[in-house]
């Protein structure tokens, strides 16, 4: 556990739990007459408290990968462990934020977040406090009784983040959490997520199609390619948090990643898509 990427931040809680290890993951979908290889020999070690960004063209298996770690899909080869324990089924230790907020439209914001605590063996008061604290954490105080249709896209996504954090998971998985938001809201929420991560100190694995976002937030950026989905690059971002968007280092790394992506000869289409996705 010598990897302490943001130890420079005073007061930051570095957790000693939340190590995610993926070894030789192979995943395919079987259809009647053919099989689709989605992930092949995917291996990755994530340190406790680390923030890892994963970028890659659409269809390269990013969402599939997160579903495997979350435990929503158990049919794969290889091993996934959290703190040395093999992952089986879903668990409150592994939080998941979907690209769409997936709040239940028939529940108030408060009830949506409280739903995550349904099976926690703690008192009613403790639950209420956790819910209130996390609503405050994502800056939604005053909207406790609002229904999802009364929230903007950015607010709904904040609520979804609060819901996924209320169980204080060891690792938080984020699947393109800001992909559906407008550019300004996105930049704003990236800053918020960084603040939350610094405050909570849990491990985070975030998927994005935005190289800049990946670099701004990640201690490490993992670059994937499609058919089958695999890691082609890993970039360490040795900058303290919170970061300055204008940092020349980030710009250099961005150019580097994009240049490397455009040089991958066997999948030119996906690279074009990735670059397009970056500035859309």
């Amino acid at each position: 556990m010598d990897y302490v990427p943001h130890s420079q931040i005073p007061g930051h809680k570095v957790k000693q739990t939340g190590a995610v290890s993926l070894k030789g993951i192979k995943k395919q979908f079987n259809f009647k007459d053919r099989e689709l290889k989605v992930l092949s020999e995917f291996s990755l070690d994530v340190q406790p408290g680390e923030f890892v960004s994963i970028v890659g063209p659409s269809g390269c298996g990013k969402s599939t990968l997160l579903r495997l770690i979350a435990g929503l899909d158990d049919t794969y080869d290889g091993t996934i462990t959290l703190d040395g324990q093999r992952v089986a089924g879903t668990s409150l230790e592994r939080g998941l934020v979907f690209q769409d907020h997936r709040l239940f439209p028939w529940m108030t914001l408060e009830d949506n977040i409280a739903l995550a605590l349904t099976n926690r063996q703690i008192s009613k008061d403790a639950k209420a406090k956790l819910v209130a604290d996390h609503i405050a954490l994502v800056g939604l105080k005053g909207f406790e009784k609002a229904f999802p249709h009364q929230l903007s896209g950015g607010m709904a996504q904040r609520a979804a983040i609060a819901r996924s954090l209320v169980n204080e998971p060891k690792v938080l998985l984020l699947d393109e959490p800001f992909g559906a938001l407008d550019a300004l809201t996105r930049v704003h929420l990236q800053g918020e997520l960084q603040r939350i991560w610094l405050a909570q100190g849990s491990t985070m694995i975030m998927i994005t199609h935005d190289v800049e976002e990946a670099l701004y937030l990640g201690d490490r950026v993992v670059v994937m390619q499609a058919n089958p989905g695999r890691i082609t690059h890993t970039v360490d971002v040795n900058l303290p948090h919170p970061r300055d968007r204008a940092s020349p280092v980030l710009h250099r790394l961005k150019d580097e990643i994009l240049a490397e992506l455009t040089n991958v000869p066997e999948a030119p289409n996906s690279v074009v898509r990735l670059i397009k996705g970056d500035d859309q």
């Binding site: 929503l72 998941l96 979907f98 769409d100 229904f147």
Partner: protein, 262 residues
């Protein structure tokens, strides 16, 4: 000042327009009735209908018939709708139940409700039990269908959220599947209400023994009492209207979380 003007503008009683056709119709009707002669057989004057209403009201006849029809419709709705919802839930949640129940449900549904009358009449006679069975059946079909469809259409993406937070079967049903299916279940309830009221009157007309608005109409027809028939029709129509209104308000209230923006 401006507020007042705004309020006046906002108050546009469009529903008053809905009163124009029936008023015109009644004027025409009374005109025909006043002609007398051969017309007198087909039309009775409004005054006569009004007198019949007063007579039936004061003799308690109307209350008895109306109460018994309403009671039949409501108990049929409760029994048929209740069982229908349970069957729909079982079919929606369990594949084996769906496979076992679908063929028989779908073939029985093809028989018009009143098509069961001869069979039910032979088995159970033409008393209250037979009537109740028919009415309950008419509530049963739509409730099964819409409860089942509603549960089938719950999206996997919502169920995944339940899995992430480790909800058990009962929690998943109560917190996710049931509320997600509720709009469809209400559509079924709407239909069930309309069908129970129609089949209540229909079955009373056909099994015309005992109390009820339908039976009263049947007897009035035999005695050529057109005024009584008309009073009955009036009550049947108004009740159907009221039922629809109530269920609409109820569903708006329960489904208030839905919005145009959602």
């Amino acid at each position: 000042m401006t507020l007042k003007t705004l309020n006046l503008n906002a108050f546009k009683p469009v529903w008053l327009l809905g009163l124009i056709p029936p008023v015109l119709f009644l004027l025409w009707w009374d005109h025909e009735a006043a002609k007398g002669g051969a017309n007198a057989l087909a039309f009775v004057s409004l005054a006569q209908v009004g007198q019949a209403l007063i007579d039936m009201f004061s003799s308690g006849e109307l209350a008895l018939s109306y109460g018994s029809s309403l009671g039949r419709a409501l108990s049929g709705l409760l029994i048929g709708g209740g069982i229908g919802t349970l069957v729909g839930i079982a079919m929606g949640l369990s594949k084996p139940v769906e496979w076992a129940a679908s063929p028989i449900y779908n073939s029985f549904r093809q028989v018009p409700i009143l098509g069961w009358l001869p069979l039910i009449g032979l088995w159970f006679g033409s008393g209250d039990l037979s009537k109740l069975i028919i009415v309950a059946l008419s509530a049963f079909y739509p409730t099964v269908l819409y409860t089942f469809e509603g549960l089938k259409q719950v999206e996997a993406r919502l169920l995944d959220v339940g899995r992430v937070y480790r909800l058990n079967g009962w929690q998943t049903f109560w917190r996710i599947q049931w509320p997600a299916a509720l709009p469809s279940i209400f559509t079924g309830l709407f239909q069930a209400l309309a069908f129970t009221w129609i089949s209540t009157i229909g079955v009373e007309l056909l099994f015309s023994s005992g109390a009820g608005l339908g039976a009263m109409m049947q007897q009035a027809q035999l005695q050529a009492r057109l005024d009584i028939v008309l009073v009955c029709i009036l009550f049947v129509g108004l009740t159907g209207f009221a039922i629809n209104f109530l269920i609409k308000r109820l569903s708006q209230h329960v489904l208030s979380w839905r919005s145009v923006r959602a």
